[in-house]
Symmetry: C2
Subunit: 427 residues, 2 copies
């Protein structure tokens, strides 16, 4: 049984454990070797981890904590309630406890909180043969072995050696002669999103983290970088849909938290939409004399909102991936203007034809189509200006997405429509 469990990939365990009851879970978990137990533990969701810790003995917790990577240990402590944290820390080696406390000091979402401190370091005067010995002696952990780091005596980062270069080097060569001194590195306080961009740009498997004095303090591995990419993307999706980002997955988040995350923006947008209502109220007499006008409002507001969202989505993503910078603002406005002309004129033409066919009224056709064209142009300009403006003001451009933009465009299009209508029909 133990051998069978040993052969299952740790990442598959959460699914397997989901299908058995709590007692069996503990039973299975206790059958695992120390190393496997720690690996499986990391893969579990936070609530499962908490349940498990509450069932384990102190000795078992100690075993898990000794096997965990430091970055995973820090993650765990950040997520657990304080009574569990206390139990975890009392069962952690004092040396590790000190390291965990240091790692906990880094501000959230920085390189410092993302890094692991398990890496292999060489002194510059080591030979390749000595380097091999050091690797064997330090023990190999999965996360660290593809790159080794060459340090000065005061632990300043001199260069990096990829395992492949070590493998093909002669055994009496010096590591300083084969190391790469052109190192892609980050400082502990670097924003985690910027770190992931470096992984993407330079195709690294790990990036070393240095402190202000250029001393190596940790490394960030690519699997953690991918997790951050996924998290940041999900956050952007949520912000762009007017949701306060949630910590847990959809199904794990409670109804109350879901409601709390959604109501703030809905309320802001509802109150903003009342402005559009106010504009309409001002034109009540126009509506009374020509109620048909009202039937064009959904089409105008909808098309305005959609064309604006198209632009803002492209610009927000472009800014997030550094494909666009705020300096491109005029280039983008000019491009969006021309796109809006092509799209707006086409849509306005189709609309005019439909109105003339249905109502045989050129004046209405003109009013609606002119508003439509103006709305498309304006909403596309706003769709690029608002996210770029937010970026300039150091706000997150993602909040200038569809929901907020649509609300603004609604007000503008309704105002334009009734202004043009009253002029054309002398209402």
């Amino acid at each position: 049984m133990r051998e069978f469990l040993e052969n299952i990939n740790s990442a598959d365990f959460p699914q397997i454990l989901d299908n058995v009851d709590d007692e069996q879970k503990i039973l299975i978990y206790r059958l695992l070797t120390k190393e496997k137990a720690a690996e499986v533990f990391v893969e579990l969701e936070h609530d499962e981890q908490e349940k498990l810790i509450n069932c384990l003995t102190d000795i078992e917790i100690r075993n898990v904590m000794n096997e965990l990577y430091m970055d995973d240990a820090v993650d765990l402590i950040e997520e657990m309630p304080s009574n569990v944290v206390k139990r975890i820390l009392t069962n952690t080696k004092p040396s590790n406890r000190k390291i965990i406390n240091e790692l906990l000091q880094y501000p959230e979402e920085t390189a410092g909180t993302l890094m692991t401190i398990e890496f292999i370091d060489f002194k510059e005067n080591m030979t390749v043969a000595q380097a091999f010995n050091r690797i064997k002696q330090k023990g190999l952990k999965k996360e660290t072995v593809y790159q080794c780091y060459v340090l000065t005596v005061d632990r300043k980062l001199l260069g990096v050696i990829d395992i492949k270069d070590l493998l093909i080097a002669d055994r009496d060569e010096l590591v300083k002669d084969i190391m790469d001194t052109n190192v892609v590195k980050v400082y502990t306080l670097e924003d985690q999103e910027e770190v992931t961009k470096l992984f993407d740009k330079y195709d690294c498997v790990a990036i070393p983290v240095v402190d202000k004095e250029d001393r190596l303090v940790g490394i960030i591995t690519i699997d953690d970088a991918i997790d951050v990419i996924q998290e940041e993307t999900m956050e952007d999706f949520e912000k762009m849909a007017a949701i306060t980002p949630a910590k847990d997955s959809y199904l794990k988040t409670s109804v109350f938290v879901h409601a709390k995350n959604r109501i703030v923006w809905l309320l802001v947008l509802m109150i903003s939409a009342m402005i559009t209502g106010g504009i309409i109220e001002n034109f009540e007499s126009a509506i009374s004399s020509l109620p048909l006008l009202v039937s064009f409002i959904p089409m105008l507001m909808g098309t305005g909102g959609n064309s604006g969202s198209q632009s803002s989505t492209l610009i927000i993503r472009g800014l997030a991936t550094d494909e666009i910078t705020t300096k491109d603002v005029f280039k983008i406005m000019w491009k969006e203007f021309r796109v809006a002309l092509v799209v707006g004129i086409s849509l306005a033409l189709i609309n005019s034809i439909r109105i003339v066919l249905q109502y045989h009224d050129l004046k209405i056709a003109f009013t609606v189509s002119a508003t439509l064209l103006a709305t498309v142009i304006l909403s596309k300009q706003l769709g690029c200006l608002l996210p770029i403006g937010a970026k300039k003001l150091n706000l997150d451009p993602a909040i200038m997405a569809s929901p907020l933009l649509t609300t603004i465009v609604d007000a503008v299009s309704v105002f334009l429509f009734f202004t043009i209508s009253t002029a054309v029909f002398h209402l």
Copy 2:
């Protein structure tokens, strides 16, 4: 100068070359060593690659092609116009040409098109020492060396060896005794999105690709997987904003292509919005007698659209990341119903208070608030049902995002509003 260029990271070259004119570009490019030239070439955008090829001599092209990884060569050929492709292929070694042609046969977006064929394979009876020799003799390429593969004589995949295990093994151990037989692998025709999920789940640096007979044909490396993740995410953002996904970045895409990518959905949504217009037309007499009603339409449509988009965004992302499956549909509907109740009642209350304060009219307050609550509940139900339904029908759930959903919710909310109004006010 050559040494200076050699020390610059290849990923930084595109930016550097952007700042010099075309003649200087060629000059700089010609100063690079063969290996560096190929590395830099891969980093360039497709239009820059085309320009460059047109300036290079046949011999220079041959040098680049000999250095390129096969997956990069295939990418290049897929992107270049036919005259350039012809020149590239005539300057490619016949053996490589054959491989490229085979790789080109795999359907787009499958594991087959993503894989590279450069990997290190061992026979099962090799010792660790022999394995080291094979690595040295095969030459080390950056993409391939962290994992090696153990094959039978007919090239079936037996197991995988991580370099770290090779490093700490005794030199006379057999590779088959240290290999991991529990291999995460994919078939050539597997969808690329599914492949990226495996990387995320199992934290691999490479995944082997096998054909139907279980023979190893290539490997997919993590850097290519990250590129696919980024691409697929961008595609989802575009689809969810009613844009046909573009091939190039925002700034590289022409005005005409931008317009083409946006107009289809705008047109579909504009025509759908006319249905809402038609509903309003049916209630023209109600509007004439109580034009104030119209001023609540933007708030009702906006709130309905926003609450629906919140739900659909969460469900679409949940489905994309496998956090949610179509089997969860009833659990989700029940959760969304309760969230809608909390959110809807709060918003309706605030609305009622505002209307009573402003218009001193309880009937209007009731009509608007009842519609608001019903709209929030309905739009949240639609927001989870439509994406899940699309998934069930093997459509992309992303098309059921904000734009389409909002258009449907608009029609529903307007219909509800006027139906309730006519009943309450006997219009």
